[in-house]
C-alpha cells in the first residue's frame, strides 16, 4: 500500500504541475470511445453535467486524489473497516478515470493499474491479498505479451517501414512546426533510415514478448522491472508517450517472489 501511495502521489504531482487535473483542463468537448462501459456511463449524461458545471471538477479531482491518502491513514492506524474505504476508492477511480479519459487527455488503457489496484486493498486476509497481487502480476505480464502478440497478429511486425510510418504519424505536428530542431532532425533520420527504425520496433516488440518468462517463473521479476523502466524511458524519448500510470504494476513484480502465506493470517 505504501509503495502504491508513493507512486500515486508522485504521478499526482506530475499531473498537477503539468496542469492535467480536470479543474485545470476545464474541457468543453468529449469523444465517444468504442467502449461499451463508456457508453453506459455516457448514457447517464454525467460527462455533459460536468461540462456544464465546471465548479464540480475540483471536487471530482479532490475525491480521486484524496481517497488513497484517507485509506492509507485508516489502514496504518489499524482501522478494521478500512477495506470499505478501498471499495469507495475503487468506485471513485472507475468513475473519475472513465470520465477523465472521455475528455482530451490520455487513453483509458494506460490507467488500467489505477482501475484494478483498489481491488487489492479491499482484501483483509493475507492469502486473499497474495492471490490478488499475483493476479495483478499475471495481468501486467499479459498486457506486455499481448502488446507484442498484436504486432504479430495485425502484421505491423511484417512491415519493414512500420516505424517510419509510426514516427511520421505520431510526430507530424512536431516535425512540421519545428523543422530545424535537433529532435526533428533525429526523427527524420530514423524515418529515412527505415531499417534502423524497424530494428527499434522489433526490439520493442521483443522486449514486450520477453515478459512471457514471468508466466513460468518469478526469478527474473527484477529484470522485468528493469525492462519495463527501459521501455517507459524509450517510449518517452522516441514516441513522446508516457505510461507512468502503469508503474504500480512494478509492485506486483517486486513482491512476485513471495510464497503463499499461512492460513488465516491477517494483513
Amino acid at each position: 500500500m505504501f509503495g502504491y501511495g508513493i507512486i500515486f502521489y508522485a504521478i499526482m504531482v506530475v499531473k498537477w504541475s503539468g496542469g492535467l487535473f480536470l479543474f485545470q483542463l476545464q474541457p468543453p468537448i468529449f469523444n465517444t470511445p468504442f467502449n461499451f462501459a463508456s457508453w453506459v456511463l455516457m448514457g447517464t449524461g454525467i460527462h455533459l453535467w460536468l461540462i456544464s458545471n465546471p465548479g464540480y471538477w475540483v471536487w471530482f479531482d479532490f475525491a480521486f486524489y484524496l481517497l488513497p491518502a484517507v485509506y492509507m491513514l485508516a489502514f496504518f492506524v489499524g482501522q478494521k473497516r478500512s477495506h470499505f474505504l478501498a471499495i469507495a476508492m475503487l468506485l471513485v477511480n472507475w468513475l473519475y478515470i472513465s470520465c477523465y479519459t472521455l475528455f482530451p487527455t490520455n487513453s483509458i488503457e494506460s490507467y488500467i493499474g489505477w482501475l484494478l489496484f483498489p481491488v487489492l486493498f479491499i482484501t483483509h486476509q493475507m492469502r486473499s491479498y497474495y492471490f490478488v497481487l499475483q493476479g495483478l502480476r499475471y495481468f501486467f505480464l499479459y498486457i506486455m505479451v499481448s502488446a507484442a502478440s498484436w504486432k504479430l497478429v495485425q502484421q505491423g511486425l511484417f512491415n519493414a517501414q512500420q516505424m517510419s510510418g509510426v514516427l511520421l504519424y505520431q510526430h507530424k505536428e512536431m516535425l512540421t512546426s519545428s523543422p530545424d530542431h535537433w529532435l526533428t532532425n533525429a526523427y527524420y533520420w530514423l524515418i529515412n533510415h527505415w531499417l534502423v527504425s524497424y530494428w527499434l520496433y522489433l526490439l520493442a516488440t521483443l522486449l514486450e514478448a520477453f515478459f512471457i518468462i514471468g508466466f513460468f517463473t518469478s526469478r527474473f521479476d527484477k529484470w522485468l522491472i528493469l525492462a519495463f523502466v527501459v521501455f517507459l524511458v524509450a517510449d518517452f524519448l522516441v514516441m513522446r508517450i508516457y505510461y507512468w500510470e502503469l508503474l504500480p504494476f512494478m509492485l506486483a513484480l517486486w513482491y512476485g517472489k513471495y510464497r503463499l502465506p499461512p492460513k488465516r493470517s491477517q494483513l
Partner: protein, 172 residues
C-alpha cells in the same frame, strides 16, 4: 500453480478469475469494441507504411505558428488534443448512428442522442481554446488561427502544400 492454489483456497475466487480471463479472450477474438477493464493493447500494431500526404493541425497565435520544440511532450499534447477532438466531431457523431445507437438498443440500454452527439459550435470552442491556450502560454492570445494543412512527404521530409482548411470547416 496459481490456479491450483486459488481453487483450493476459495473456489469462487477461482471462478471469478476464470470469468475475467474468458471475457478478455472474448474481447480479443471479437476485436473492435472493448469493455472497461478489458482492453486491446495493440497500439501501432496494424501496418502503417509512410503515406504520401498527411493532415497536420497548426495553431497560429498572433500570426506566429506554435512550435512543438518549445513545449514539453504533455504540454504539446494539451495544446493538440482538444483540436484533435474537435476535428473528430463528425467521426464521433457517425459512431453514434453506426454503432452506439444500434448496439445499445440491442441490450435495451438507453442511449439518447443528446448524450453522444456533439454540435459544431466553433465560435464557442475557439473562445474556450483561446482562454485555455493563454493559461498554457502564460500570455494573452489576441489573434488565433486553427487550421488543418496538408503536407506531402517528399525527399524524406514533410513539405508544405497550399491545401489548407480552417478547423471550423472540418465539422459540419
Amino acid at each position: 500453480m496459481y490456479f491450483k492454489q486459488l481453487i483450493s483456497y476459495k473456489p469462487r475466487y477461482f471462478l471469478l478469475v476464470v470469468l475475467f480471463v474468458l471475457v478478455q479472450i472474448f474481447i480479443n477474438l471479437k476485436r473492435g469494441m472493448v469493455l472497461t477493464p478489458f482492453f486491446h493493447y495493440g497500439m501501432y500494431s496494424q501496418q502503417m507504411p509512410p503515406q504520401k500526404s498527411y493532415e497536420v493541425l497548426e495553431v497560429w497565435v498572433d500570426r506566429k505558428k506554435l512550435r512543438g520544440q518549445d513545449f514539453l511532450p504533455w504540454q504539446w499534447d494539451k495544446i493538440m488534443q482538444p483540436l484533435v477532438y474537435f476535428k473528430n466531431i463528425s467521426a464521433n457523431n457517425l459512431l453514434y448512428y453506426s454503432n452506439v445507437k444500434r448496439i445499445s438498443a440491442a441490450v435495451f440500454l438507453p442511449a439518447d442522442s443528446t448524450d453522444f452527439i456533439i454540435n459544431c459550435q466553433y465560435p464557442l470552442f475557439e473562445q474556450w481554446y483561446s482562454r485555455y491556450l493563454s493559461t498554457i502560454l502564460k500570455r494573452p492570445v489576441t489573434k488565433l488561427d486553427l487550421v488543418v494543412r496538408h503536407y506531402n512527404l517528399q525527399q524524406g521530409k514533410l513539405q508544405t502544400t497550399i491545401q489548407v482548411q480552417h478547423l471550423a470547416s472540418t465539422c459540419r
